[in-house]
């Protein structure tokens, strides 16, 4: 856990004081990632560097796991904090192996152990040790260097990591890949991470929380979804962008928003049973599944509400599907693509697992909005309105 | 038409070149001076016309340039080189009475202490294994009238490691400061007396006579016949003592060459 209490930095820029960081209070719970976000020059880097004392603070307190770091020896402190600088900063005179083993060496680990650790970490960041251990930094691509930089910071397994725009130098396509890899890694490692970024998309993707700075002040510190859903002022709203709601869609997986117990029928079922199920669930459609639970077709309420016979006599076609692991943005895109308002949700094996509609998505997002809005939106039908009526209501 | 005056790289030569320059300039010639050169370079330069006139020593031309091995009297030496050099288009004007011969010198106290008075004494000491270092200039070790001939005549070998070569003027300082035991000196140098050196007797009469003489290219002389008289006039004023005094004014009294040369010429009424 990292705790900042009234942390302040005033630089002396040629006689004039420049307040780079202004009474910042912030806590990063153990095992979580906080993203420091904000326009250029807002004090992100300065905040980060005060934690490992690359920059001395002017006032305030910095606690790690509750302990005031003022009492800790500087060298000691730094050895317990992994630090990834923006410019990567690999030592060109050392091989990849030596670079990764620097801190273990400093800590006096046995050579054998530190070398083994280097290999292990390289593997962890998806670089083949047999190829890369003996290479020099200049023989690596930018993205590979970046990964080695992360591996190096992890070498002595420090509980805390500071990362200053660690993926800043990488082109957008590779950046996505590396972000994904790092997320996977962090899922296992559960480090306490403070991460500087200037990219809202990266922040939303990588952070458990986002701290948005402006001119040295911490303006909002919240979960990505809250930052997007409830920017506390115009500045934040502008900063996160006009399409912030579509950004939020990225944060939610289909399985979180879908109806997970949808009406499920087999071709041999009586159509009346299907109609009954739809009415009970207030769904307009029922998906027909095959013997292994895979969607094979669907029936539409209006088409069959007065029909009789077996379900298989009334199939309306093959349903459009989406993976339950996809994010809602993909789901919305699929709906627009196929000009439908609902999708059958399937798992990796293609089995039908849920039912998701545009309306559910809107509601899911809206649920967060309405918590905080002072007055109910007159445009929204009161909860509990039957489906048919609710559909008409808009 | 410019007259190019040459000069070697030690005080006496720089003085003579300067005097000649001032003298000729006073007589209305355009003068160009090329000094600071080694003996043979200068001589070669004169032979192929880059230098018109400079002051040379009879012995040097005899032994070094004309490779004559015989022992000759000063007069014979002069006649011989005059004759031999005429073939090369060089005219030896009147020799002065100054004889600037090589000499080996020691600090008086050390010489007396070690009992060395002659080159033979020195040879004996060396052969007895005494390490007497010897400061020489660049030319001496490699000249036939220098160390090469000396070693033949006295039948000894100066160990390589005891030879300290340096710029010609530095031998005096080296000896004075006792950085060496023996120093190569020129007989007309003012510092021998000033620094209280003793010169070792050339007891086998090895060194030839070195009468200072103006040497001029025949072509130049033919074009300017009056030069002979002008230069002979200066030559007549020079003898060992005069040279020693002039050299001392520069090396000991630290007057500039230009000043010493100018003063001498005007004192002598030459300009």
């Amino acid at each position: 856990m990292i705790t900042l209490k009234n942390l302040t930095k005033i630089f002396d820029a040629g006689g004039e004081p420049v307040t780079a960081v202004d009474h910042v209070n912030l806590e990063v719970p153990a095992g979580e990632t906080a993203i420091l976000l904000g326009p250029s020059g807002c004090g992100k880097t300065t905040t980060l560097k005060m934690i490992n004392r690359i920059i001395p603070k002017t006032s305030g307190k910095i606690l790690i796991d509750g302990e005031d770091t003022d009492g800790v020896n500087e060298i000691e402190l730094r050895r317990n904090i992994g630090y990834v600088i923006q410019q990567i900063g690999l030592f060109p005179n050392m091989t990849v192996e030596e670079n990764i083993a620097v801190v273990p060496d400093l800590l006096g680990w046995e050579k054998k152990k530190s070398r083994a650790r280097a290999a292990e970490l390289l593997e962890m960041v998806a670089l083949d040790p047999s190829i890369f251990l003996k290479r020099y930094p200049k023989e690596l691509s930018g993205g590979q260097q970046q990964r080695v930089g992360v591996a190096r910071a992890l070498a002595a397994d420090p509980p805390v990591m500071l990362m200053d725009e660690p993926f800043g130098a990488i082109d957008p396509i590779n950046r996505e890949v590396i972000q994904d890899e790092f997320l996977k890694l962090q899922q296992e490692m559960r480090k306490t991470i403070m991460f500087v970024s200037h990219d809202i998309d990266e922040a939303v993707k990588m952070g458990d929380r986002i701290a948005i700075f402006r001119a040295g002040r911490l303006i909002q510190y919240d979960t990505p979804d809250n930052v997007l859903a409830h920017p506390i002022n115009e500045f934040i709203a502008d900063f996160v962008g006009g399409d912030r709601t579509l950004k939020r869609l990225r944060l939610v997986r289909v399985y979180e928003a879908m109806d997970a117990e949808p009406p499920k029928i087999v071709p041999e079922d009586d159509i009346r049973k299907a109609v009954k199920l739809m009415e009970d669930h207030e769904h307009q459609n029922a998906v027909v599944v095959g013997p292994r639970g895979r969607p094979r077709g669907y029936v539409h309420y209006n088409d069959v509400k007065d029909a009789s016979g077996a379900v298989k006599e009334h199939w309306a076609g093959y349903p459009k599907t989406v993976s339950i692991d996809a994010d809602l943005r993909t789901a919305v895109s699929e709906m627009f693509t196929h000009n439908v308002t609902w999708l059958a949700c399937v798992d990796d094996d293609g089995r039908f697992r849920g039912y998701i509609t545009q309306r559910q998505i809107t509601h899911h997002l809206g649920a967060t909005y309405t918590d905080r809005s002072e007055l109910p939106d007159p445009n929204v039908p009161p909860p509990g309105t039957p489906v048919a009526q609710a559909e008409e209501a808009s | 038409e410019t007259i190019t005056v040459g000069g070697k790289n030690f005080t006496e030569q720089l003085l003579l070149a300067e005097m000649t320059e001032q003298l000729l300039a006073a007589k209305g010639y355009d003068v160009d001076k090329r000094d600071g050169l080694g003996s043979t370079v200068l001589r070669q330069a004169q032979e192929n016309g880059q230098v018109d006139v400079y002051w040379e020593y009879t012995g040097t031309s005899l032994v070094v340039y004309n490779k004559v091995k015989e022992r000759l009297s000063p007069e014979e030496t002069y006649e011989k080189v005059k004759e031999l050099d005429a073939e090369k288009g060089l005219v030896w004007l009147n020799p002065s009475k100054a004889n600037n011969t090589y000499a080996l010198a020691m600090n008086r106290s050390e010489a007396e202490e070690k009992g060395i008075a002659s080159i033979s004494d020195l040879k004996a000491k060396l052969e007895a294994g005494e390490e007497l270092s010897f400061a020489v200039n660049a030319e001496f070790p490699h000249r036939e009238d220098g160390l090469r001939g000396l070693q033949k005549t006295y039948d000894f070998r100066y160990p390589r490691s005891l030879l300290k070569a340096m710029e010609s003027g530095l031998t005096y300082q080296a000896l004075k400061e006792n950085q060496v035991d023996v120093g190569l000196v020129f007989a007309t140098d003012g510092r021998i007396a000033a620094f209280d050196f003793v010169t070792l007797e050339d007891d086998r009469g090895f060194f030839p006579a070195y009468a200072i003489t103006p040497v001029i290219r025949k072509e130049t002389l033919d074009a300017n016949p009056e030069l002979a008289e002008v230069l002979n006039g200066l030559s007549a004023k020079l003898d060992d003592d005069t040279m020693r005094k002039l050299n001392a004014s520069v090396d000991v009294d630290k007057k500039t060459i230009e000043e010493v040369a100018g003063n001498f010429l005007s004192e002598q009424g030459l300009i």
Binding site: - | F10, T11, G36, L37, A45, N48, Q50, E167, T256
Partner: protein, 215 residues
């Protein structure tokens, strides 16, 4: 103190020697610029030619200066100029080639390929490219080469006193042979000051010649 007295009473001689010194260096480096810059530009066209030329030029500078003078004497004696001004000028000319050629070559070669492509892309002919883009951008580096050459050769010209070329080396050589610290120090100081002054002067010229946008 004595030295100051010496200097003040011999200003004329010192001035004359300084002029001799400057005239050797100026003429030689001037000629070196006229030869070295075109050579430097020419060899950018061919890598192996460049290697050869730069190799030869760098061999020349490893020859000790006094030896280069020594070599010059018998060679130039054939045309009756073995000692004095000419060998000094030629030696300086030769020593100047390496810094000038190398800097020209490097500077032209280091012109950002993007600029070269931009120039090509807008339809400049090779000569236009050279005059409008490459040379203006290379000037500061070429001038730096000239500066190096001048400073280095002011020192080398001092040694030319030993082949009768005159110049401020005369004071040093007399100072040494007459064990006269006044002349020695005067000579050494004069040569050093000349080098420093030349360096500053050329730095100023370099700044003047550097296009404002690249300063």
């Amino acid at each position: 103190m004595e030295t100051i007295a010496f200097i003040t009473s011999n200003l004329g001689v010192i001035g004359e020697l300084t002029m001799e010194h400057i005239s050797i260096v100026a003429v030689a480096v001037g000629l070196a610029v006229l030869t070295g810059v075109p050579i430097g530009i020419a060899i950018t066209q061919n890598r192996s030619a460049a290697d050869i030329v730069l190799y030869i030029a760098s061999i020349i500078v490893t020859v000790p200066s006094i030896a280069l003078f020594g070599i010059m004497i018998p060679v130039l004696s054939l045309i009756g100029h073995g000692i004095g001004y000419l060998p000094a000028v030629i030696a300086v000319l030769l020593y100047s080639q390496l810094p000038i050629i190398r800097n020209t070559y490097t500077a032209i070669n280091n012109v950002d390929p993007a600029l070269r492509e931009a120039a090509r892309g807008m339809g400049m002919k090779p000569v236009q490219r050279l005059w409008r883009v490459e040379i203006p951008l290379a000037i500061p580096v070429i001038m730096a080469g000239v500066r190096t050459a001048v400073v280095m050769n002011i020192g080398i010209t001092a040694i030319a006193a030993y082949i009768g070329a005159g110049g401020l080396g005369t004071l040093i050589s007399r100072g040494i042979s007459q064990t006269d610290p006044r002349q020695l120090i005067t000579g050494a100081l004069a040569v050093s000051l000349l080098a420093i002054a030349a360096d500053y002067f050329l730095y100023w010229v370099q700044r003047r010649l550097t296009p404002a946008g690249t300063r």
